[in-house]
Assembly symmetry: C2
Homo-oligomer: 214 residues x 2
DNA sequence: GTCTATATCCCGATAGAC
DNA sequence: GTCTATCGGGATATAGAC
């Protein structure tokens, strides 16, 4: 796995190369095991070079998280965009969400387990908006005949369910079986269908209203 | 849970004190910001002392995670054990799960965001077994008239849903509103009710059989 | 069981040359 | 935009005294 043999980056796109290498490192050692120094070493540049492109370690991690958000959106789109029927669409999105988390664990962890302050990085939420709108909120709202608030409740419920399955899968809660991934995807899919089927419980739920004080 | 005395630890229970201090540190700086050195400093012992009680940093973190598992179980019990009706019981458990995650974020993160290898620490799963059995698997199975496999599917779906809501809440996905906690709890509760209501979608789903709880 | 002392290592980040 | 050189800091973990 030597990369030092050739030097494709010295006069190339170091910023992008750093993001790629960060993903590699996170995959190998986890988010905590990632460091600017090690990434520099792998790319054959000195430890000072990355700071021309990223203000600090967190900035590079945020760039990785941003890539994760767009890649996740694209992956779910591949799985669900061809499915027009709302119930199947949102269920396919849930399954695709879990699939991406497993197939791109490093990216997923950069987005959700890097300890990044999302409130300070609204661009991440922005990057994930099409995902939420097109594959969760949209179908959910049409399942409620256009009721926006009920649709949002269902969308968030399915999203949280997919997220929970993804996190538990990465945590090993589905066991060491080789098909733990397939199992988690099937369970997330079925749970989404169940939520759709029982969606009336979400419509009437008295949730704290969206905005009270501003 | 007292730390009143000035120096209760020098000849007291350093192991337990280290766990408490680790929780404090994680609450203040996150899991990544926790170190044996800083914990030692706070307790007024030298950096060598903790190694008489924990083999390494990960061992101390695992002890914190174990406490988290038992505390989580106890907290859910407080919220759901008095509720006999299966549907309300499992929904109360989901809500209690989210409440605990918010009220004890440091413990929850030690359990789920510390990067501990769960497969290498089966005692954590063991500690959470009563939680899964009594408040998820039990009621879910009775909702399926004793069908164990269908019950497990519903239990895992509700558990994953609660987990997803908890993780998203800690990630700030429910916004900076002061009642984000109450909202997340209400949503998890409603989603659990929805899953119960639409549980037929889970019974028929062809899922691989074996599963590890939690 | 705790302390003193220390070995060893790695990291983030910067200044200034080229 | 990258390199050289480096500062300053903090971490894990161990050896041996008490």
């Amino acid at each position: 796995m030597k990369r030092s043999a050739k030097r494709p980056y010295h006069h190339g796109d170091l910023a992008a190369a750093l993001v790629d290498t960060a993903v590699e490192l996170i995959a190998e050692r986890g988010v905590a095991g990632f460091s600017m120094a090690e990434a520099s070493r792998r790319l054959g540049v000195t430890v000072a070079a990355p700071y021309r492109h990223f203000a600090d370690r967190d900035a590079l991690l945020a760039a990785v998280a941003a890539k994760a958000a767009t890649d996740l959106t694209a992956a779910v789109a591949v799985e669900a965009s061809a499915v027009p029927e709302p119930t199947d669409r949102i269920a396919a999105a849930a399954r695709g969400y879990v699939r991406f988390a497993s197939a791109n664990a490093a990216l997923f962890q950069a987005l959700f387990a890097a300890g990044l302050d999302k409130r300070a990085r609204p661009e991440l939420e922005e990057a994930a908006r099409p995902l939420v709108e097109d594959f969760f909120h949209g179908p959910a709202t049409s399942l409620f005949d256009g009721d926006e608030q009920a649709g949002e409740a269902l969308a968030l419920a399915v999203l949280a369910t997919a997220h929970g399955h993804a996190m538990l899968l990465l945590d090993g809660a589905f066991g060491p079986d080789t098909d733990a991934v397939g199992q988690a995807m099937a369970r997330a899919h079925a749970a989404a269908l169940g939520l759709v089927s029982g969606r009336e419980a979400l419509r009437s739920a008295d949730l704290p209203t969206k905005v009270a004080g501003k």
